[in-house]
Amino acid sequence: MNGKTYLDEISHSRYDFRYDEDGYFKVDQGLNEDIILEISREKNDPEWMREFRLRSLEQYHRLSVPDWGPDISGLNIDNIVTYVRPKNAGMTPKWSDVPSEIRETFERLGIPQAERESLAGVGAQYDSELVYHNVREEVAAQGVIYTDLESALHGPCAEMIRTHFMHLVPSTDHKFAALHGAVWSGGSFVYVPRGVSVEIPLQSYFRLNAPGAGQFEHTLIIVDEGASLHFIEGCSAPKYNVANLHAGCVELYVEKNAHLRYSTIENWSKNMYNLNTKRAIVREGGVMEWVSGSFGSHVSYLYPTTILAGAKAQMNYTGITFAGAGQNLDTGMKVIHSAPDTASVIHAKSISKSGGISTYRSAVTVNPGAAGSKSTANCESLMLDSDSRSDTIPVMDIRTADADIGHEARIGRISSEAIFYLMSRGLSEEEARTRIVSGFADSVSKELPLEYAVEMNNLIRLEMKGTIG
């Protein structure tokens, strides 16, 4: 990687589209201004947003698909238009259309029928919507704004959104950020005022089925000075989407001495291209904590990025990735130390199984002004068989002498002695393996609220099922 960060690489990407056998790549067949204007009208965008979408569309046409990560030539970019066209051309999703694999997962997770349908995007009304409203009222009493982004654009925070929306992740960042800027729809907006501590974790899970939420959702969170918040994104149950591309965007602003914990458990269907962009900026004395569990998807590009912009700002990242058969998960994280005495701690784990590929890509940058900064990274990979792959690609760009940087990576297998030990107490081989893998993931699940930890464990169980021939 020539010591470059992944962002550098993206913005230096050239125009080399992949040509498939049937013909050639035609960009303008995908998206056009008319479609964007249609979306914009549908969403009742303010004028600046409409302009923004159109500018993003231009960027989208100009940028090329990344050529440095897992192969995404199977993603039919021509079809993007069908993913984003509003009112989805007479499509009325039915529960019976949901792939049986996903239906089964919902059933095994014990999620009630009504909720399953809604999580799969085929239901209309469900109990959780009610829960969401209740939570909203409770935090509103503290002055917290927690709503969907579309409504927020017309509310009292409109100006705040204009000055923050896609400022951390500009649409020039990469092709899918541009796509997102052009067609984004749905997502959450949270503003926590100065000094306010939100005691209950806010969960976007509750509003997953809000109208328009889909694969291009945008999350914008601003935690003002001295405030604190725990936000849980995504849902622990698998999402089913008609389209197989997810290009969401998450922007997190952690102001002076503020604290944000952002947890996600993602489980995408196995045909999904997950090209998500998440970024946080942390001001003086602020603390950003990421807890992330990535399951499912066919290909993922996912590198939550943190810019430590103020002195003594801190970042803590705990994440786990599980790559099974047919999956290529390219995940990791990026941190930029831009102020003195900033600190980052990274614990990344990955599991690969049945030919799955798991790549951990990290980039730690320490800028010249960031004297006294400290970064420690610890990566552990567990390969469950010899068909699977696990790689660690750390990049470090250290531009100050006075920095303390450590990186440690380990790749391991399940020891057959440990399996024998557990089996000698009555656990079946599958059970023994599952317990060892869950144990490996334990340091991540410990960071999650109980119900999410339980569901992550269930996901691991599902992934481990039938491993033994």
Binding site: S424, R425, G426, L427, E431, G439
Partner: protein
């Protein structure tokens, strides 16, 4: 009386290396058997092959436990049949608490479900007997346990699971004087049940103090070279294994 375990003409290899040769061993139900022998003789290997460690491949012979052919049973099936092995070096397994592990093991070997608090209460008595603090239950299985604590945790598992046959592989080594006594009492308690049988692999006699030893087997260079009653232990203590070794 028919044997609980009967090993007949058993030969075993590890990594294609012959380790055990034509072993004959009969364990009578309700009895205490002791297996002694020099380092590297193959004692642990014998314990492992009875438990079914896939690293030990059986090249000839047979093993029957309680009438059923052990060679056809997987490790967990052997555990469910009532065989328990206390490991010479218990493994550390991060992310699994001793409690949840014990609970799974208990439920799986008995095919039953236990209530969380009830099971905890049941364990706390045993923990007390073994002078182990209850907080060990919430620690990861053997992770960071001292050598002695690991051995006590093995005995805790044995007492909880109450298997028909327990093989104790040098459970006494690494224990301090008090711990040997505590563990030895635990083992004696296990033997209070007439249906329980022990195969104790040991280099010392202290662990045997509160037990009545029925039979002693000497293993040297992969062969059972001698068998006798409890008096054999004193004999070995006095003269060592010299006389049992081949002179090549």
């Amino acid at each position: 009386m028919s044997a609980l375990l009967s090993v007949c003409n058993l030969s075993v290899q590890i990594n294609e290396q012959p380790i055990l040769h034509h072993i004959h061993l009969e364990l009578a139900p309700g009895k205490v058997h002791v297996l002694m022998g020099p380092n590297g003789a193959g004692k642990s290997t014998l314990g492992n092959v009875i438990m079914g460690n896939p690293a030990c491949s059986v090249t000839e012979g047979s093993m029957f436990f309680n009438g059923s052919d052990l060679l056809g049973l997987s490790v967990d099936q052997r555990a469910k049949a009532g065989i328990f092995l206390s490991f010479q070096n218990p493994l550390e397994v991060p992310g699994i608490s001793l409690f949840s592990f014990l609970k799974s093991a208990y439920e799986l070997t008995r095919d039953t479900h236990v209530r969380l608090w009830q099971f905890r209460k049941q364990l706390s008595a045993t923990l007390g007997d073994l002078a182990l603090d209850e907080s060990y239950l919430d620690r990861d299985l053997n992770v960071g346990f001292s050598g002695g604590e690991k051995k006590k945790a093995e005995i805790l598992q044995m007492l909880t699971l109450s298997p028909k046959l327990a093989i104790l592989d040098e459970t006494d080594s690494g224990l301090d004087v008090d711990a040997v006594r505590t563990v030895s009492h635990g083992i004696a308690r296990y033997m209070e049940d007439a249906g329980h049988t022990l195969l104790i692999i040991t280099h010392s006699t202290r662990i045997l103090e509160s037990l009545h030893v029925d039979r002693v087997h000497i293993l040297a260079e992969g062969h059972i070279v001698h068998e006798g009653d409890a008096s054999l232990i004193d004999d070995v203590n006095a003269h060592g294994f010299e006389r049992y070794l081949s002179r090549e």
